[in-house]
Symmetry: C2
Subunit: 228 residues, 2 copies
């Protein structure tokens, strides 16, 4: 209750974390250990702990770490989902986050009965997810595709050093269509965000140059289209 005497809605945080493995897009889900939606798969999230979480971003990070053992390479606010009907416990407000990470196998048992696992994005329609999590994932996926077109965000799905070929694969997986290698190289050049390393990487043919992020670069502020 607030000082006004109103009942406050439940406030929660949910995370849509994407990764790419073997040219497939995956989403991280956890099996719910408690009601409601007991034993259903759902997005990792939960309530803010005002003693532990500096802000909602810290809460999102903590929940991911706690429930999946992973720490995202990139995290941003997606959108707030709200209403009386999305949670059987009552009127609820959930801030969804959108996260990226290089693919890492999850140790499916963290500390309790709860279970975490990567699910191929294109198989999610076959699952019954908790709450409105299907909708949240759909929104997150749309945002991911948008940002793959006009930003360098997809590099967060790769290790610190990566090749143009790897980045091309990641972007193509996200967009679901081929892009021009040449265009991608022009973008890498134009962005001025990356430097060549001394090393090269074998890949079955000519060895590829390894790129890495320049120190102190804000990768979120780059524009220009690709394959629109």
């Amino acid at each position: 209750m607030t000082e006004q005497g109103f009942i406050q809605p439940l406030f929660t945080v949910d995370n849509v974390m994407f990764a790419i493995n073997n040219a497939r897009l995956y989403v991280l889900l956890v099996k719910r250990a408690i009601a409601p939606y007991h034993n259903n798969w759902s997005l990792p999230g939960g309530f803010v702990d005002i003693a532990l979480d500096k802000d909602v971003e810290a809460c999102a990070m903590r929940k991911l770490k706690q429930k999946t053992g992973l720490t995202p390479a990139y995290l941003e606010q997606l959108e707030v989902f709200s209403g009386a009907d999305r949670d059987p416990r009552g009127y609820s407000v959930s801030l969804a986050f959108f996260a990226l990470l290089p693919y890492t196998p999850v140790s499916s048992q963290i500390n309790s009965v709860s279970q975490a696992s990567w699910w191929p994005f294109d198989q999610l329609t076959q699952l019954t997810l908790a709450f409105d999590h299907q909708l949240i994932i759909a929104q997150a996926h749309q945002r991911l595709q948008q940002k793959a077109l006009y930003s360098m965000l997809p590099v967060f799905c790769l290790p610190a050093t990566f090749t143009v070929g790897q980045l091309k694969m990641v972007i193509e997986t996200i967009l679901g269509k081929e892009i021009q290698r040449k265009s991608l190289m022009r973008r890498i050049e134009a962005s001025d965000m990356f430097t060549l390393t001394e090393q090269k990487q074998v890949s079955g043919g000519r060895q590829a140059q390894l790129y890495q992020l320049k120190p102190g670069v804000d990768i979120t502020h780059f524009s220009r289209n690709m394959g629109a």
Copy 2:
């Protein structure tokens, strides 16, 4: 308290509503009638009423109507601001909305001691606003400028029918710099969102064509840069 036994943070909604009058950008502020920040100017907002508000968007609309008498022509989620220190009443989470409206004078007295008024954006630095509202407004302004570059959102600052000259003025006011009339006309053409009306409008010289939004068009989904 949740069933987990945690204390829930306070959840509120804040609105940054912009309008343009006489080639100046204005933000709508209200004078706080209660503590904290009693008598300080602040963004119109407040707590969700789970009995009245279908979702957070409905809450934002209701608060605007209630506190200022106005209904925005455009409303979208901006960002969540959160932390232990932004509200003296305790850990708080506020979802900020970003709203546009054709300029309308506000009847400064609504129903009580509270007072609403348009403030020129470029004078806000001289005011001491409640909470972190300066920051929220700064973020909203950045978003407004971004969207003015690559979308048609600024039309929501104009009446249902408008001329190219008016739209040019609105965009220039938002961006704080001149744009090419020709480029704007190309955009209007390319967007395929508007139709010419039969009417023309006097403006001291040749009469201008009046445009209006095509019915059923989703104005939020248009791209292309302008004056970047």
